[in-house]
Amino acid sequence: MLSCAARSLPALERSCHVGTREARLLTERPWIRPAGKFNLEVTAEGWRFAQPHDEPKPAPQTGDSQPPPLSNIGAQVGPRPRLGGAATRVRPPNDMVVFKERLFYLLQPSLENLLAGKQIRLQHKPYPYQLEGIAFLMPRHAALLADEMGLGKTMQTILALRLLLQAGLVRRALLICPKPLVNNWCRELQTWADDLPFEVIAGDADARRASWLVSNAPLKLANYEILTRDAALLAEEPATFDVVVLDEAQRIKNRSSKTAEVVRSIRRERSWALTGTPIENRTDDLVSIFAFVDAERIPPNTPTKRLPQLTGDCILRRTKEDVLTDLPAKTIRDTCLELTPAQREAYELAEKEGVIRLNALGHTITVHHVFELVMRLKQICNFDPLTGQSAKLEQLHADLAEVADSGRKAILFSQWVEPLEVLARALEHLGPLRFHGRVPASERQGVLDRFRSDPTKHVLLMSYGTGSVGLNLQFANYVFLFDRWWNPAVEDQAINRAHRIGQRGPVFVTRFITQGTIEERIAEVLEKRRQLFNELIEQNGPPPSLGLTEQEIFGLFDIQSRPKRAAAA
């Protein structure tokens, strides 16, 4: 049994008293969080852009069914590739640092929308790669467009200029090209920018001075020779441009030449250069051209291997293989040239005297008489009989240099053997081979084999009459018609030497036409015949002949005389 006893609790030794201790209230974070603002606020920042110029009303539309103009680069044979896929947008280049400028280009509509919206009316739709070229040029102050020959650098440049002018970003532009190409540019401007006023700087010193300093045409064209001659005028204030374009820019590859110095001296905001040569493989040429395009981009003594890094954003080059899916199988373009002064003098004299002689024949005149005069004049269009000058040869030098530089091959056709011989001597550096009536039959196959296999042989000179059905030259991508045949079917047959099954790339055909001559008149008649052929062949089958009729031949000149017809029985 347990027992318990009450025992006294131990007494506290100290008395209890209540005290307080100071402690901070929990009035701060993270114990207390403010409720925050009740209202929301926002501000805005904005950028205004120049009002685009209104386009004037376009000329009455001819419609897609109408044939392309005679000189249209990009005139195509075969189905046109459809524009589709991703939209082509203008992108600001990497070196554009001002936000508003970058914003402006980012906010531009796609080029497809711009064209589909018919703000800019075009006779033909550009190919997708050409839209990319336009998008490349537009935002750039420094650009080198180095597309392979035949891909439409001219058109891309014209449309880029047109868009910039319309957007108000550019007000004055200068385009410099070789003299033989001035008329070509004029025709292309009429095709791709018929609403864009332009002025060709030409004439005597007073006229040129007015063009340089007084004229307010938004676009001026000058050739390299005139530019050099008028260098002093370029130093004056009015000769300032928002964009300067150099065509065939390899003309300034010699940095110390007078031409290159004058070109670099032009006051400008944007510098664009066009060339068909593979410029990226030619270091010295590239550096010289960039002395114009962007003088500060390549520092002195830059190692060659650094050049791609420094210039890559400024260069756009496409080859035919790059844009194969966009291109039609065959592209025909007319290069319109102005006769040299010596040729013009000889031509006018021959035509005048020839027509007088034809009219003097009276009713004894025959088609053959007219043929003789036509042949004579066509020969003068090829070469001046006294001096040997040739506007066509001048242009051919530049074109074939691009072909050779690109590693391509070309076939050149003429109606006669003599011009081919002259060309063979003039183009010796390109390793020309001959294939015409004077080449023995036993040697002809060897010529073709050599043309195919020898990489140093870039051009084959042929006459229309030679060759057989089995002649295959589908490894040649370029065809030049130095002078044209009477019958478009014969021309087509010549062209098809290259454009055949087995041709891996598109074929570019260049037809030389001298302006203001019998060639131009014949070309117009042939074009109408070709259109008629295309329309009739589906209905009635091929017509018996596509050559010029007697009426058309007599119509080439101002001839009153006509052959006397036998009385009907």
């Binding site: 501000t43 805005a44 950028w47 685009p52 906010l107 929308n113």
Partner: protein
């Protein structure tokens, strides 16, 4: 709205509001009838705090998109527009604050969504869905582009909107400018032009 000498005739407005992790950001682009940019305005980013989310509740998005960002952008823009397009339905209520017709482009698949909610023209359209806008349809879905709706409280906007849409048919892709605005916003962000407001 700021007055300007620019004629509003034929100018088009495109307004969108992006909702991202760091808030709402609006962009407003005014173009000519061909889609060429005339003026662009960018709002600062708006990130509502918790109190604001509670206070505004279901009306928060509409308030931010239309009353706050949309109204600010349009009022600050010097270039007037004939009609303002948007690809965000909450922006449609902007029409209650500006004297310009506003049209909302719905996504193509939204047009087929059936809603059981009655049409309530007095309430915010954002809460009712596309189906509630059927009575204010300016143009049905076409060629892969969703239908366009005006604000149901402004029936007078419909004829003007239809006329404008017919005029623009085939000449301008009306969905494309929103892509440009988004790219411009991305570029502004990359260059540090945008900043938080609150």
């Amino acid at each position: 709205m700021a007055q300007t000498a620019s004629a509003s005739a034929h100018n088009l407005g495109f307004l969108t509001v992006l909702h991202e992790t760091n808030g709402y950001l609006g962009g407003y682009l005014v173009t000519n009838q061909w889609g060429r940019p005339l003026e662009f305005r960018l709002s600062t980013s708006v990130q509502p705090n918790r109190i604001q989310q509670i206070i505004y509740g279901a009306t928060l998005e509409t308030y931010i998109c239309a009353d706050l960002i949309g109204k600010t952008l349009v009022e600050k823009t010097g270039t007037n527009a004939e009609l303002i397009f948007t690809d965000r339905e909450p922006v449609l209520d902007l029409r209650l604050h500006v004297d310009v017709p506003v049209a909302y482009f719905a996504m193509a698949n939204e047009a087929s969504v059936e809603s059981s909610k009655p049409v309530d023209q007095s309430a915010s359209v954002a809460s009712s869905g596309v189906s509630s806008l059927r009575s204010s349809c300016a143009r049905p879905a076409r060629n892969g582009v969703g239908p366009a709706f005006c604000h149901p409280s402004f029936a007078a906007d419909l004829p003007a909107a239809r006329q404008l849409l017919d005029r623009l048919e085939g000449s301008l892709d009306l969905a494309e400018p929103f892509t440009r605005i988004r790219e411009a916003i991305a570029e502004a962000r990359k260059m540090g032009v945008t900043s938080r407001a609150a």
